[in-house]
Each structure stands twice: as structure tokens, then as C-alpha cells.
Amino acid sequence: MNTTVNDDTLLSSARRRWLLGSGATLASALGAGTVGNLLLNARPAYAADYKALVCIFLYGGNDGMNMIVPSDTARYNQYAGVRKALAIPQASLTPLTGVSYGLHPAMAALGTAWNDGHLAPVFNLGPLAQPLTKAQYRAATANSGVLPSSLFSHSDQQVLWETGSSDSLTRTGWGGRASEALATVNPVISVAGSARFGLSTTQTPLVLPGPGSTFGAQGLQATDTWAPLVARKQAIDALYAQAQDVALADAYTSAQRDAFAMSARLGALVKTRPGDADAVAAIDTAFASLTSAGKITTGLGNQLYQLAKLIAGNATVQGNRQLFFASMGGFDTHGNQVVTGSSTEGEHARLLKELGDALAAFYAALKALGLGGAVTTFTQSDFGRTFAPNSSTGTDHAWGNQHLVLGGAVKGGATYGSYPELVPGGVNDVGQESWELQGRWIPTTAVDQYAATLLGWFGASEGQLDSVLPNLKNFGTARKLAFL
């Protein structure tokens, strides 16, 4: 960490450490086929052995109970009876042919992926230390390890989802640990900040700005050959090669050295906007409905456009396995979740439309590139929300939640896990006494099982899954779900 940088190779010091530490050869780590040029609109050569996982974190706690709703009469009536003013009208649901559920009407754009058989809802997911019954939940004592820490708290439950842990003091994310265990060429690439998901013991996620942004230091590029700028760069390099007296500053200099190396390689690719000369036509077409005057019009759309470019530009990004991270905020809908008198309008509908439209465009882009089966996208979120609404047309913090998995490799057209029994105070509800009957579901599937399914597809061995997801062993033989 505090050694001087003595060369300007493409490989950052951290990446060199991984390659050496993992025993992988340089060739295998870079991935066969990554050096070929990408032919637009044709299945690229590297796709034969390329896989990417895309995590979309919905910050604030998405209300999964209104994202996917039971559509059979008996359960719909149970749902509407409790949800009252928040209930989404049965007739307005986006139908999911073949199953007794419908999506929120704002997510109609995902109908294509469902009909293609490439979209799968996963029910009642959440952080667990071990399989948990209501009786065990209610009998659990403090610090027994039976329950995940600090339930119902945003920050803690975000950490548990992102770290694949039941202890919110965990420092590293399951994405970061997987990247380390599988010796991926790049760390987790994030287009949404330095989230915990991508942290490992040695690496931070590589955070890239959006399309059109400059990823690089002005005046310090390889093309800046004017003598005073060359002298400036040499001085900067000397400043950042200097060992520091405090550990935090060594971490800072290390990140800065990586930043110079990464920006030299990725700067041009990052900057490309829709319609630019080096834009990929198939991606621009798929995002056309979200594009205006060369800019993507929604936050998540912009992030996923950037990821589609990075996936298509894998010859530059490098590596045959890549974890990505994107996010949306604003899901903490305590109040005004819906418009009074019109439950398909309001804040939550707006959020789900942004999510559904961006996912649909991303799915279409990858399909057009011939990479549909190489990329699996999945959601995470702090927690589900109370089944029973509060007095401000909103919902409060809960636990188990519904999620979506999308991609050509996904065995979609079906649902996974078990939808909670729609009874406040019932078998899935943490609550029993009259004061606590808000419907906070005890998860029936753990984050660990969800992550193991995704990472198993990605290429992690059973042993690697056990090391990346330390609680997985507590779930016996039920290590993975069948959606991949």
C-alpha cells in the first residue's frame, strides 16, 4: 500500500496483487477472446465465455407488495382488504401469463421479457442468519445470533443485503468478495457510487461517471504533451508515490494511482453518449424511448445505458467475468406512496416506471447485441414495507420482500420462493400482539440463497460460495433456487 509506483502498466497494483495471489495466469484472468474486436449487432466472439451480473439496489425499501400483486380472486381480495387506499386495482395489473400474479401497471414495459420467458419474480426474500419460523423469531434472545442485526433499520438492512451477512458490522460486500474469490480482472464496476456491495478487504468498487462525463484529470492525460503539463504530471506522480504517515492517506494515494490507470483505459468509452460516432447502434435503438437530444432522460436509464456500453465494449473493459452495480433512491415511501383516490399514480408508480422502463431498455439492448444470455440483472433493496398502510397513505419498514431477476439465462415465466400469506398476524408476520399487526414478513428465502444462485451461474464453485457467503451452510441442501 505504501510502496512507490514504479511503472505505468495497464494493470493497477491492486489487480496485480490479485493475479499473483490467486495463482491465475494472466491469460486466463483476462479471458479468452477478449482481445477480438466487437462487431456491432453480431454476437461478439468473447460472448462464448462472458458473464456479467448486474445488481440494481432500490434504496429506501421498495414496496414489493405493490410491485407484484396476487391476481387470483381470493388472494386479491385479501390484499385489497388490508391495503385499502393503497391497493392497485386488479384490472390494471400488468398480466403475467401463466401465473396468478400481476405487475404494477407502471412496469408494463417488462411484459416482453416475461413473454420471452426471461423475467422471474422471487418472493419473500430477506436477510436471515438461518431458516426461521415465527416461533423461533419470537423466542429469540438478544445476541443469540438467531436473528439478523438491527432489523427494520435502513442502514443496517442495506448493509446486510449488500454484504450477504446477518451482522451489520460486516465490512466487505458479497460482490467484492466474489470478485476477489473469482479473481475477476476488474473489481465491481459501479455507476452508482461506492456502495458496500463492491468492497473487498483490498478493493473499492471502480466508480464510473455517466455518459458524456469526463473520466480523467484535465491536463494530465497521455495526450497532454506540453512541457509544463508533463512536469506537472511528474510532480503529481511523485506526490502520489510518496509513502504517507497515516493509513487513510495511503488508501487515498492508492486509489488515486488506480484512478489514473483506469481513466487512461476507460475514459473514451465512458464518455460516449447516444448518437456519438462511436456509440453502439443496437444500444441507442433500445434506449431510444428514454433518449432526448443525446441524453438519457432517467437516472437509472442513464446508468444502464452506461453498463450496456461497458458490456458491449468488453474488449476495452477486459475480463470474462464482471460484476456491476447500479441503483435508484427514493423508495422510502412512508407518505404519499399513492395519490389519494388513484392508487396507480403517485411516487411509487413514478419509481416503478423508471425501474421498469430502464430494465426493459437494458434487456432489449443486450438481446440485440446477442448478449442476452450472458448478463443476469437482479434487484436488491433495504427491506419490504408493511403490508398494512399507515395514516399518511404510505407504508413503514418491514423485512421480507419481492424481487426481480432478468436475463436470457433466467428461467422466467415462473415465480420462485413463496409469496407471504396475506394475513396480518399470520404465520409470516413477525407480529402477534394487537399493536404489531402491520404485516412485516419473516423471509422464507435468504439473501444468501439468492446470491448463491446468481454466483453459481456466474461460475463460483460450491467451495467459493461457502467462502463468499458464510451463512449459506446454515441452509443445508437448500443452497440455491431454480431460477438460473
Partner: protein, 517 residues
């Protein structure tokens, strides 16, 4: 210099001289007596009193939303004050407090309401933390942000109650006075039942009178959205059952909303967590990310006793005593710097710090949507009540935490350098016609050109100002070489200014500056 980093928006040569001449304790005491910075910009509450047809901004200038609804006018005040007003410590403490008791313009609009909220934090920066919490609990901006306004006992919204406990006062795990976890693991401070009790106890508050809409106020019996003052109680919405709280405090059956809130504050101020929980975060915001347990213990003790040396009133929660304990502690003042010391300078402090050191001036306009968003610290617009970054963000490659690293990244590292390019090589930003009393964002290097003929002297002078010491010799040599490229041969008219620019870029762009010790 080190105290100036911790207790102001950054050292200037004049400030460092002033601290040296007064002595540290006297300077802190003097600062606590100053009160000059205020939030004054932006328009009033008319935006919440409009009963005409169409929307409020119809027929008004295109700056309507900015000046009535957004926090942009307050960004102008924030940076103007940070760069030029003398009550630096009050502003730094208020900035720390606003990152603990967070509201955000991302979710709530109404310039005048935020102005009141942040002026309250300036007013109470050296008052008592109980008063901070009380004003926060009664703020209609907070009431809208965390749904405590118009909260009905029938099915109380838990949002404010939960974050009041988790973020504003005691946290989720039981703490020792030194900030460590009791028993070495997280023992929950409260259960979900406790959260519900607090939610019930804080029901029954509505906006102050004065708001109006074309369609009346809803729900019936409550006031319309309005932010010019504290929230007021509404008996019909207030739960009056007995509610057991923490610290052995109980709200008796039949208690009205106002005394119930006092009981809520009693229970939080009496909790053993509040001293270390708030004290440690003040250390992290002002001095270092990883204070020793003994340092936290000393600060928490000052919070609890309300007294530190000659500072404070002796009442628990006294912030003058707490801040004095943070700044005058041996760990903040000692010459020896521990390997675990330091903190990454947060973007807003870095923006203002470079401007202050280089005799700059700003109206803040370039530091909001442009540089604020680039570096993920657009003042008054944190992404959620969890602030821009968490207090426990882990720093890979170390066993330490670094809260500000939560918004740091490869891209942010490069953008920090680009901010210097903007100030030094692009001459900053010119005044914009749309900003009242516009200044742009610009620096004045004339004071440093007097030393520019001697590159080594210039580099050392800037290093002393920015770092408190010279750069290590190897990089110092390279910096002097880069500065020396400019001579009367390469630029006959501006070579001295070019030298100052070259030197300032490298000194302020160094890791030695970006990570304060």
C-alpha cells in the same frame, strides 16, 4: 494550522497568525462568542399561501422555483459565509450538526423553511443538544421530510420516531461511554415495540398557521403545509394512551402532545448512549475518522457533565463543552500523529478551503449543481436522512473507517484535481447575471507572487499554509521543477502568476492536503 483545518473552513495566513497570537483555548473561546453568518437569501412563504388558479410560478420569472422552493439561495449563503465570515467554528459545528440531524431538499421544498432550519442550527451550535433535538422535532420541514407532520394516532407513521432514535440521538446498539459496543457485540438499544411507542407519543402535530391552498387544508382539522415557525399540537390527532419510553421514562395516560414531547426528549437525553453517539460523530466531522476510545470517552464525558475546563454551563448536552473537548483534546492537538489519525477532507470543506487559502471569493453558484454534484456533496441535498456518507464506512486496505470515503472513488479522486484546474487554469467561474450580488468563483494570487521568483520559497510558503509543513523532499523537488518551468523567458508578463498557479495545483492536489492529519 491544524486547528484551522479542524475548526474552520480552512487556514488562511491571517487565521493561522491569529490562532498563534491568541493561543488555542482563547481562540476557541472567542470563536464561540462570534455570530455573524446567517442564511438570508431566497424568498418567503408565499409559495405555501397561493390560492390562485394554475401553479404558483405561473407568470413569475424562470428563477421562481430556485428562489422560492429550492435550497440554492442557501448554498450561496453557505459558501459566502464559509469563505469570508469570521464565525468559522460556529459554521463548522452547524455544518456537522446538519449532517447528523439531516433534512434534504431532494424530498422537501420551500426555501424559507430550510432557511429557518439552518439558522436554528447556527443559533444552537454552542447551545444544548436537547434544544437542537427539540427544534428538529418541531420543525415542519422535518415534519414533511420524515412524516411527523399531521401524523395521526389511528395508524402512526413510524418514520420520524425511528430515525430520531437511530440517527439523531442514541443509535441501534448499546454503547460504553468510550463509544465501543457494550459486551463487544451489538445489543439492540430498542425493539420495534419501543419505536411504536415513540411514534405514538409524537403524534398530533401540525404545521403552524398561515398556509393556504385553493382546495383548502387536508386532513380536516389540520393546518395547510407551512414552514414559518414550529409545528403546533392538535389534540384530536394525539395519542393519549400510556406509552413506556426508554431510560425508565413513561408518558402517562392523558398527556398532551407538548409535554409528551418533553418526555421523549427526557428519555433520549438521559440515555447513556447519547454522549458517545453524538460526541464521536462530532469528532469524526471535525478532527479524525478513527478517534481512540479514550478520546471519545473524554468528549462523551464533557457532553454528559456539560463542562470542559472553562467551557460549558454544566448541563448535560452542552455543545460548547463538547466542542471544546473535541478541539482541545491531546489527540487533536498533539504533535505526534498516529498511523490511524486523519480524515479525508470532505468536498464542501475542500471547495471552501482552497478558496480561503488563495484569497478567493465565491457566491457558491459553481459549487452546487456543478462541483457539488460531481463530488457527491451538493450542500442541502443529501440523498437521504442517512447523509452523504455513513459514519462507519470501511476503507479497504486498512482496518479503519473513513466516513468521507463513502463518496470517494477513482472518479472523485480525478474530479478533486479537476476542481483545482477549474480554479487555477480556467480562472474559475465568472459572475452570473442571474445570481443576486454575484461574485462568481475566483481566486486572487497577488499576495503570493512576491515570493514567486524563488520557486522553492513559494512552494514552501504554500505548503506551510496548506499542510503546516514542507512537502517530503522527493516530491518537493519535482514540484519545484514543475513550478520553475515558468520563467520570464516562457511567459514574460505572467510568469510569476503562472508559478503560483503551478505550485498551488500541486500543493492542494497532494494527498497531504486532501487527507487532513
Amino acid at each position: 494550522m491544524r486547528l484551522a483545518d479542524q475548526a474552520s473552513f480552512g487556514p488562511t495566513e491571517a487565521l493561522v497568525a491569529s490562532i498563534k497570537s491568541q493561543g488555542i483555548s482563547a481562540w476557541v473561546s472567542t470563536q464561540m462568542g462570534l455570530k455573524s453568518a446567517r442564511y438570508t437569501s431566497g424568498n418567503g412563504g408565499e409559495v405555501h399561501q397561493y390560492t390562485g388558479s394554475g401553479s404558483f410560478c405561473d407568470g413569475k420569472p424562470t428563477t421562481c422555483w430556485r428562489d422560492w422552493s429550492s435550497t440554492e439561495p442557501l448554498v450561496w449563503d453557505f459558501y459566502r459565509n464559509a469563505v469570508t465570515q469570521p464565525d468559522q467554528l460556529r459554521q463548522r459545528v452547524a455544518f456537522a450538526l446538519q449532517q447528523i440531524v439531516v433534512v434534504s431538499n431532494l424530498e422537501v421544498t420551500g426555501t424559507y423553511g430550510f432557511r429557518l432550519y439552518y439558522n436554528n442550527l447556527l443559533d444552537n451550535a454552542f447551545g444544548n443538544y436537547r434544544q437542537v433535538l427539540k427544534k428538529v422535532a418541531l420543525s415542519p420541514v422535518m415534519g414533511d421530510f420524515l412524516n411527523s407532520a399531521n401524523n395521526d394516532k389511528a395508524a402512526p407513521n413510524e418514520n420520524f420516531a425511528r430515525e430520531l432514535l437511530q440517527l439523531f440521538s442514541i443509535g441501534t446498539c448499546e454503547l460504553n461511554t468510550d463509544g465501543s459496543l457494550k459486551g463487544g457485540a451489538c445489543t439492540a438499544t430498542y425493539s420495534n415495540e419501543v419505536v411504536r411507542s415513540y411514534a405514538y407519543a409524537i403524534t398530533g402535530w401540525t404545521y403552524p398557521a398561515g398556509g393556504a391552498t385553493p382546495w383548502g387544508c387536508w386532513p380536516k382539522g389540520m393546518n395547510c403545509t407551512y414552514y414559518a415557525g414550529d409545528m403546533i399540537p392538535v389534540a384530536s390527532f394525539h395519542d393519549s394512551a400510556e406509552r413506556p419510553l426508554l431510560s425508565g421514562v413513561t408518558v402517562a395516560a392523558g398527556t398532551a402532545a407538548a409535554p409528551a414531547l418533553e418526555s421523549v426528549l427526557d428519555s433520549l437525553m438521559a440515555h447513556p448512549n447519547i454522549g458517545p453517539f453524538i460526541g464521536k460523530q462530532l469528532i469524526q466531522h471535525l478532527v479524525s475518522s478513527n478517534p481512540s476510545a479514550a478520546y471519545v470517552q473524554r468528549v462523551a464525558t464533557a457532553f454528559n457533565s456539560g463542562k470542559y475546563q472553562a467551557f460549558g454551563s454544566g448541563v448535560k448536552g452542552d455543545l460548547a463543552a463538547t466542542v471544546a473537548a473535541v478541539l482541545l483534546d491531546a489527540e487533536a492537538r498533539g504533535e505526534a500523529v498516529a498511523r490511524s489519525a486523519g480524515k479525508l477532507r470532505e468536498p464542501a470543506v475542500m471547495f471552501a478551503g482552497v478558496l480561503r487559502a488563495l484569497h478567493g471569493n465565491t457566491d457558491g453558484d459553481a459549487l452546487s449543481w456543478w462541483w457539488g454534484d460531481s463530488l457527491r456533496q451538493h450542500v442541502f441535498r443529501p440523498p437521504s436522512v442517512f447523509n452523504y456518507f455513513p459514519p462507519d464506512y470501511p476503507v479497504p486496505g486498512t482496518t479503519l473507517v473513513g466516513p468521507e470515503y463513502g463518496i470517494h472513488s477513482a472518479n472523485a479522486a480525478l474530479e478533486r484535481l479537476n476542481y483545482l484546474t477549474f480554479l487555477l487554469d480556467w480562472d474559475g467561474a465568472a459572475p452570473s447575471a442571474s445570481i443576486p450580488n454575484a461574485l462568481g468563483t475566483q481566486i486572487d494570487l497577488s499576495a503570493f507572487t512576491t515570493d514567486a521568483a524563488d520557486a522553492a520559497k513559494l512552494v514552501d510558503r504554500l505548503s506551510l499554509l496548506a499542510l503546516g509543513q514542507a512537502l517530503p523532499s522527493a516530491p518537493r523537488d519535482k514540484v519545484i521543477t514543475a513550478v520553475s518551468w515558468w520563467t520570464d523567458k516562457t511567459d514574460a508578463t505572467n510568469w510569476k502568476t503562472k508559478r503560483v498557479k503551478a505550485a498551488a495545483y500541486l500543493v492542494f492536489g497532494s494527498p497531504n492536503y486532501q487527507v487532513m492529519r
